[in-house]
């Protein structure tokens, strides 16, 4: 195939207005060191990482592993809050040396973690997290994200209640024998770059805007020579074909399967010679083009939110932008989002590709200008300076309008409250021994055991048989409280007792990997994070996530 033009070059333009790397107060990104990850989350993602301030409660193996994976890619700063002294059991943690037994665990791990990346600021606070939660909860207000490990249930709930209204993400991690668990809670996490796996192209072939239609009409394929004919973008071929079909079918579009097949075969018949690449692209592209452009369900859900309607001076930028977007859709957009302006690679001469690219790009710029104007009007209305939201931010939002998303995690209290707990989900799990929720119930029972007795079942110097009986009782009570009939299979509890809150390094490493991955998603606001609980079972190497 000849002349397949890449859209990459043109995409660069959007980056050209990005923030200046050498602007005062901004760190210069070490491009060489971060080369492999810049290819994943870009400069914007790297900057957001660099601006993040994290707090870890308890530097046990899973907590330290999580931080390690965040220090390496260059998180801005972290604080380890841990009142313990290092003992022999801590030697399952790679960032603790034998010689540090007896020293502050916060200090030892902070020192060794900062060795990994000197650009990262590390602070050690050698105080018991439970005590800080109880006596000085405002300590946590300085952080943009909190990771909790090995914090007993009641203080954890108190911490969650403090972070929830401030919209600070809480990530709870757990590595318990061969079981690992993760719970994320953030009241509202908005995402502009959700980066779906297979995003649909925004080509508007069934609903062409006037300029696109005019461009298509201006090309006369009959009069083209063979080179031009075989290098006319497939988008144009389809635009013409849809128009022709509408003329012949009373303004309709192909809707039934036989109609669609006839349409596609009709497209191929327009070829001047066999195997014109652009025609086979048109034939393939037709499949996705039969659907009219519409507003994705995630974006519709945003429009339906009361936050998108009631804009005040306190509204977050995201919601002001959503409000403006909604206005655009209702007015100029005629029910559709702004045109994204990006075009996939296709067979075409460079000249032809650039011409059609310009048509889309121009429309996208016009739409973005209208959208930007609306944003400014709204800002004015709520009494804020019109440059409160930067041009850059407006453009980016507009460009990704089809991929906006918002996640509202249920709170830890909602998970536990008998009126809001996912009782039927848990009840059905008890009947299925393969369900990971059995482990969830078992871990909750172990937590309740700790709350009662100040130690974990099967822990040091304890009576295993006695613990099992107690744990059984506790699990039963726990299930009753959330109105679940049925009992947890004793084998799960037996296994939990066997572990006795032991942390296996490889499970800690795995959970630390998953947790840090989610933290990166949360901090960069790229990709959609887990919602909201992840459970890993090392007995059979399987995992499952649930909305609890």
């Amino acid at each position: 195939c000849w002349w397949r033009t890449s859209s990459r070059l043109f995409q660069r333009k959007e980056k050209m207005s990005a923030t200046n790397t050498t602007a005062p107060g901004k760190k210069v990104i070490d491009e060489k060191r971060y080369d492999r990850q810049l290819r994943l989350w870009g400069e914007d993602g790297q900057r957001r990482l660099g601006d993040a301030k994290l707090c870890l409660l308890n530097a046990n193996a899973s907590g330290t592993e999580t931080l390690k994976n965040l220090v390496l890619p260059g998180i801005g700063a972290f604080t380890i809050l841990d009142g313990r002294k290092v003992d022999a059991a801590d030697l399952n943690n790679f960032f603790i040396e034998e010689s540090s037994i007896g020293q502050s665990r916060a200090e030892v791990t902070t020192r060794l973690l900062t060795e990994l990346n000197t650009e990262v600021e590390g602070h050690a606070v050698s105080r018991d997290p439970v005590e800080v939660i109880e006596k000085e909860i405002s300590f946590f207000h300085q952080f943009s994200l909190v990771i909790a490990s090995d914090v007993p249930e009641q203080p954890l709930l108190k911490l969650a209640r403090e972070l929830q209204p401030r919209n600070v993400p809480l990530v709870v991690i757990r590595s318990y024998g061969l079981i690992g668990a993760l719970r994320i809670s953030v009241a509202e996490h908005t995402i502009i770059e959700s980066k779906p796996d297979n995003p649909a192209d925004d080509l508007r072939l069934l609903d062409p805007f006037p300029e696109l239609l005019a461009f298509s009409d201006s090309l006369d394929m009959e009069k083209m020579d063979s080179t031009e004919h075989s290098h006319t973008p497939w988008v144009v071929i389809l635009l013409k074909a849809f128009k022709k079909w509408a003329d012949e079918h009373g303004g309709k579009t192909p809707s039934t399967y036989p109609e669609k097949t006839a349409f596609r075969n009709g497209v191929l018949k327009e070829q001047k010679k066999q195997d014109e690449e652009n025609y086979s692209e048109a034939y393939k592209g037709a499949v996705k083009s039969f659907e009219r452009a519409s507003i994705p369900s995630d974006v519709k859900a945003l429009f339906a939110s009361p936050k998108a309607d009631h804009i005040t001076a306190e509204s977050a930028h995201f919601w002001i932008l959503v409000h403006a977007l909604k206005q655009f859709v209702d007015a100029e957009g005629k029910g559709l989002l702004p045109v994204s302006g990006s075009l996939p690679d296709m067979t075409a001469t460079t000249d032809m590709y650039m011409r059609i690219q310009k048509v889309y790009e121009k429309k996208a710029q016009e739409d973005a200008a209208i959208f930007g104007k609306k944003v400014k009007e709204i800002l004015q209305k709520i009494g804020k300076p019109t440059d409160t939201i930067s041009e850059e931010e407006i453009k980016k939002f507009c460009k990704h309008a089809a991929f906006l998303n918002c996640i509202n995690h249920r709170s830890l209290d909602e998970e536990r409250n008998p009126n809001t707990a996912k009782s039927s989900l848990i009840a059905s799990a008890l009947a299925d021994e393969n369900s990971h929720l059995n482990w969830y119930v078992a871990l909750r029972a172990a937590d309740a055991f700790y709350t009662q007795k100040g130690r974990y079942p099967g822990d040091v110097d304890s009576n295993v048989a006695g613990d099992l009986a107690d744990l059984k009782q506790i699990a039963e009570k726990l299930l009753q409280e959330i109105h679940v009939t049925g009992t947890l299979d004793e084998r799960f509890l037996g296994e939990i007792i066997r572990y006795g809150n032991a942390e296996l390094h490889s499970i800690a490493s795995l959970i630390g990997g998953v947790a840090s991955q989610e933290v990166i998603k949360l901090v960069t606001h790229q990709y959609v994070p887990l919602n909201n609980t992840f459970i890993y079972n090392g007995l059979n190497s399987s995992s499952q996530s649930y909305q609890l």
């Binding site: 195939c1 000849w2 002349w3 397949r4 033009t5 890449s6 990459r8 070059l9 660069r12 333009k13 050209m16 200046n20 790397t21 602007a23 060489k32 080369d35 492999r36 990850q37 290819r39 994943l40 390690k68 994976n69 390496l72 890619p73 022999a88 059991a89 399952n92 943690n93 960032f95 034998e98 060795e115 990346n117 061969l178 796996d197 075989s230 040091v460 110097d461 572990y499 006795g500 032991a502 296996l504 390094h505 490889s506 800690a508 490493s509 795995l510 959970i511 990997g513 998953v514 840090s516 991955q517 990709y527 959609v528 887990l530 992840f534 190497s541 399987s542 995992s543 499952q544 649930y546």
Partner: protein
């Protein structure tokens, strides 16, 4: 239960028996990169006492965002040695032996592998993976294979006669590009990048490489005149080189099209010859690139021309000092040369120019790599290792890490597949090879087929009990001379003919194969292999059942990026057509074997049991 210090957690969760097995095991870790670092850490903290680790690489700055056993001060040092020292600092009670070496050398043959209870791969390339797989199958030591790419990863347990081996499913093959596309008719950026790399090798490398030279000699006065002009420029090498490749060679191509009556440029706009003066004189308005990271800027033609002269001058100085250049994406002058050369050529052929960042990615086959994924995968490797050491092979799983949960699952695990009885490594040891025995010489047979495609290391070839070729160390000069003579012969001349059975063996892999030869003129310059037990006369290839096994994911850094077998339906069709003459088969008979950058997710479904090889042109 008393927590016994360091191992308390472990004894409690694993139980005494498994813990003892862990302590008594002897583990080989192959690779000390992204996964290797995580893995070594996990092992020293999981009760393992006796570990050996091997890696041939040294530490680079771009490793430090994930390979946490290394720091800035270690740049340039041996990965395996530094990894060992860093790990011992945290647990001095473990025996670790490190080798700064290539696993494919003869020091690490079957006897070396036999000493281990379990081998853990943390590799970054297909070649070494195949090699280790063969040795583990040969000496029957269990192997755990792994790989990561960006947010994706996978772990697989391999045991002879119990599970699939690494080669039971066909692996993605390196993408090939036709010579003529690279040399004369590039249509994509990647073609120009490959050309840039070839040009680098030809101009500054250790070998005389004529790959890119046009052999067409012309008496055309116009061409002659241009060649004479070029001749006068010889005193200034970088300027001469610029003029040669971007003006004279291009001029010749266009002119040959005009005068030769060849319809080369009928279907496409002709390229535009570009002289240095013109390139430096251009100053096209460029949009401000303020604020973009330095390497992500796309240079204009003038800037590329300046970069070309600057890097060519530097590389020439190195060559004159006897320091020959080989492409290394982390060697700035190399990268600058390839960037400039590729971009100027792109301009000439009307292809968009790219940033150095993007060209580095494509030229160096870079896969994004982060700590998080490696941590998850290394954790899973140890979990699987526990099962193997606990004698629970039936409980081991093939596990994939996805970018985000699908149906609630972030980790997708499946039962191990049974061995493929047609696999030529762990199953039949049979290969049907179709090729033209009159055209192939023994050298191509050995280098392209046995080494290049079948993945042998040091093959020996026996036909009807007669040794016709021997490779390997310890040959005397007479044997070497004999080999050289043999290599020039056609297969026919060494009795590798239709229906012959060729015994091929490689002691370094303890692999013995039987190749059944089928004489065929259907694919001039090509050959075709299938790992199937031959049935008399019936050679119609069978279409294998659809499998959902994702293509192997390569480990993170310095990867030879592989392109998966693409476009299933097309490929299948092609597979069925193998027995009918393929009119296109000889169009691209000269091709460069080059890897290419692709989305690994796109190659998830591997369906074809056939590997197609192409013969590199003379």
């Amino acid at each position: 239960m008393e927590l016994e210090g360091r191992n308390g957690h472990l004894i409690q969760s694993l139980g005494d028996d498994l813990f003892k097995n862990v302590q008594q095991s002897k583990i080989l870790v192959v690779g000390a990169g992204g996964i290797g670092c995580e893995l070594l850490k996990n092992l020293v903290l999981s009760g393992f006492q006796d570990i050996e680790i091997i890696d041939m690489d040294t530490i680079d700055l771009s490793n430090l965002n994930r390979q946490f056993l290394f720091q800035r001060k270690h740049i340039g040092m041996s990965k395996s040695q530094v990894a060992r020292e860093s790990a011992l600092r945290f647990n001095p009670r473990v025996n670790i032996k490190s080798y700064h070496a290539n696993i494919k050398t003869s020091d690490f043959g079957p006897d070396f592998f036999r000493r281990f209870t379990l081998v853990l791969n943390a590799l970054d390339n297909l070649d070494a993976r195949r090699h280790v797989n063969r040795l583990c199958i040969a000496v029957d030591v269990p192997l755990i294979e792994s790989g990561t790419a960006g947010y994706l990863g996978q772990v697989q347990v391999i045991k002879r006669n119990v599970t699939e081996c690494y080669e039971c499913q066909p692996k993605p093959v390196a993408k090939t590009y036709a010579y003529c596309t690279i040399r004369s008719a590039p249509t994509k950026s990647i073609h120009c990048i490959i050309w840039g790399k070839e040009e680098l090798k030809a101009q500054f490398g250790d070998v005389e490489d004529q790959t890119l030279e046009d052999e067409e000699v012309s008496d055309d006065p116009e061409i002659k005149r241009q060649e004479d002009i070029l001749e006068t420029m010889k005193s200034d090498y970088p300027k001469w080189l610029f003029h040669k490749v971007f003006y004279t060679d291009i001029f010749r191509k266009v002119r040959m099209g005009e005068i030769g009556g060849k319809k080369i440029w009928e279907d496409r706009p002709p390229p535009i010859p570009m002289s240095l003066e013109v390139a430096l004189g251009t100053n096209p308005a460029v949009e401000s690139q303020e604020g973009i990271l330095e390497e992500q800027k796309v240079l204009n033609l003038k800037q590329n021309a300046e970069l070309f002269i600057k890097s060519a001058t530097a590389l020439q100085e190195r060559k004159l000092k006897g320091n020959f250049v080989e492409f290394d994406k982390d060697d700035l002058e190399c990268l600058q040369f390839v960037t400039a050369a590729s971009n100027i050529r792109s301009w000439i052929f009307g292809i968009p120019m790219l940033s150095q960042f993007e060209i580095k990615s494509q030229a160096g086959n870079i896969i994004p790599a982060i700590a998080t994924t490696n941590a998850i995968i290394a954790g899973m490797i140890v979990v699987e290792a526990f099962k193997v050491l606990d004698g629970r092979l039936q409980d081991t799983r093939m596990t994939y890490l996805a970018q985000k949960p699908s149906a609630g699952r972030l980790l997708l695990s499946s039962q191990n597949e049974k061995p493929n009885k047609n696999c030529y490594v762990c199953g039949s040891n049979f290969i049907v090879l179709k090729l033209n025995t009159l055209e192939f010489n023994l050298k191509d047979f050995v280098e392209k087929i046995l080494i290049g495609t079948i993945g042998m290391n040091a093959p020996s070839v026996v036909v009807s009990d007669a040794l016709i070729y021997e490779c390997g160390e310890g040959l005397d000069s007479e044997e070497i001379a004999q080999n050289q003579k043999q290599l020039k012969k056609t297969l026919q001349e060494v009795r590798i003919v239709d229906n012959a059975t060729v015994d091929v063996s490689d002691d370094s892999q303890e692999l013995k194969l039987k190749l059944v030869i089928v004489q065929s003129t259907e694919f001039p310059g090509n050959f075709n292999i299938a790992g199937e037990v031959p049935k008399p006369q019936v050679l119609a290839p069978k279409v294998p059942a659809k499998t959902e096994v994702p293509a192997k994911i390569e480990e993170d850094d310095d990867v030879q990026m592989l392109e998966s077998i693409e476009g299933e339906p097309k490929k299948r069709k092609r597979d069925l057509e193998i027995l009918s003459p393929d009119p296109k088969a000889n169009e691209d008979d000269q091709s460069l074997l080059v890897s290419s950058n692709v989305d690994l997710l796109g190659g998830n479904k591997v369906e074809v049991l056939r590997l197609e090889g192409r013969l590199e042109g003379p």
